[in-house]
């Protein structure tokens, strides 16, 4: 009986040590990431990254997204709702992360739309029509054209801009930053440089709430 208890107590102690260790490690790492972010935002936000929300907001949400990713589409209204809860306090930055086949072409479309100042309108149209142009996790960019007609884009200019090397470079840069920041899936969020402790909307909400409270 004593032996049984010894094993049981050791097991509980070791598992608890693991959990506490994981918690301490993650929070220290998040703090370090937050401090590094305040010093240098280079890998998180590039000059070409489309931003949404008040430019002087003190809380940045950086989202690595793929237009063909269904979860990114589901998160989009939730993130906007979160931003509406703290008006003018949050700014959202979109980073191009083509993880699906064919997504890079759709991202080129979005980056070219950004040159016309219509990135977010186009993104909303692209997300709304997602089930029409994504099948079996494969993007079919040629079908996207049917769904962005009402955004008010100069489509001839958009097509020409999509071929610009600077647009391709933006996507390459974002992919390189995703690797630097260890982004392996979309959507991946950083709030003032801090990654989510574990992936999920509740975790994002809590992190945004904490950062907003700390900043204002």
């Amino acid at each position: 009986m004593k032996q049984k208890n010894l094993i049981l107590i050791s097991a509980i102690f070791l598992v608890l040590a693991f959990i506490v260790g994981a918690f301490v490690y993650r929070s220290q790492k998040a703090d370090a990431a937050g401090q590094a972010y305040q010093r240098d935002k280079t890998s998180y936000v590039r000059p070409h990254s489309p931003g949404y929300g008040h430019p002087a907001a003190k809380v940045d949400i950086v989202e690595f997204f793929d237009p063909a990713c269904e979860t990114c589409k589901q998160f989009y209204p939730m993130v906007k709702e979160l931003m509406a809860k703290y008006p003018n306090k949050i700014r959202l930055y979109a980073r191009y992360t083509p993880l699906h086949q064919g997504s890079d072409t759709v991202l080129k479309m979005l980056a070219a739309a950004d040159k016309q100042g219509k990135f977010w309108e186009t993104l909303e149209a692209v997300f709304a029509a997602q089930s029409y142009w994504v099948s079996q996790h494969r993007a079919r960019p040629e079908l996207v054209w049917n769904h962005i007609g009402n955004v008010g884009l100069d489509l001839a200019r958009l097509k020409a801009d999509m071929e610009l090397p600077e647009i391709a470079n933006m996507i390459q840069q974002d992919l390189a930053d995703a690797r630097t920041l260890n982004v392996k899936a979309t959507p991946e969020f950083f709030v003032n440089g801090k990654p989510l402790p574990t992936w999920g909307y509740e975790q994002l909400k809590t992190l945004v709430e904490d950062e907003t409270r700390a900043a204002y």
């Binding site: 032996q3 049984k4 010894l6 094993i7 050791s10 097991a11 070791l14 598992v15 040590a17 693991f18 260790g21 994981a22 490690y25 993650r26 260890n182």
Partner: protein, 146 residues
């Protein structure tokens, strides 16, 4: 038989218990490296895990009550683990040339994530754990012979 074994030699029981502690610490440690710190395990790490993780579940069966035959049964696992970990340690240390490494393209086995005091790497910790567990298990098996 079982209960008399235990009564005969509490020292063997303690040895196997220590092995279980070592195996559990190694298992949780490797999970900490991969799941918390985010280091992807290479293929050799996986072979070592295959030899280490079962000990966490099997050794308690050998302890409650003490059963030297189960101790005997897990020794092949720990010997193979020692060999793989030893090979991995030499690979990381640069004692075995690159072209001999049997790794896939994913995560190179020569990459090391920790380097304490200039020589302590994850495979070295693994090799020491396997070696110690193997030695203690053999000792416990011998000592408890009826």
């Amino acid at each position: 038989m079982n209960s008399s074994d235990r009564a005969q030699d509490p020292f063997s029981w303690t040895l196997v218990f220590l092995c279980w502690l070592l195996a559990t610490i190694s298992t949780l440690g490797s999970l900490f490296f991969s799941e918390v710190m985010g280091y992807a395990p290479c293929i050799l790490c996986w072979y070592q895990r295959i030899c280490m993780y079962p000990l966490v579940l099997i050794l308690p069966v050998a302890l409650l009550p003490f059963d030297r035959n189960i101790v005997r049964a897990v020794i092949p696992l720990t010997v193979v683990g020692t060999l793989v970990a030893g090979f991995h340690t030499l690979l990381v240390g640069g004692y075995i040339p690159e072209d001999m490494k049997p790794c896939t393209q994913g995560v190179p086995c020569t990459e090391f994530h920790i380097n304490w005091f200039g020589f302590v790497t994850i495979p070295l910790l693994s090799a020491l754990a396997f070696l110690l567990i193997t030695a203690l298990l053999i000792l416990a098996y011998r000592r408890s012979s009826p």
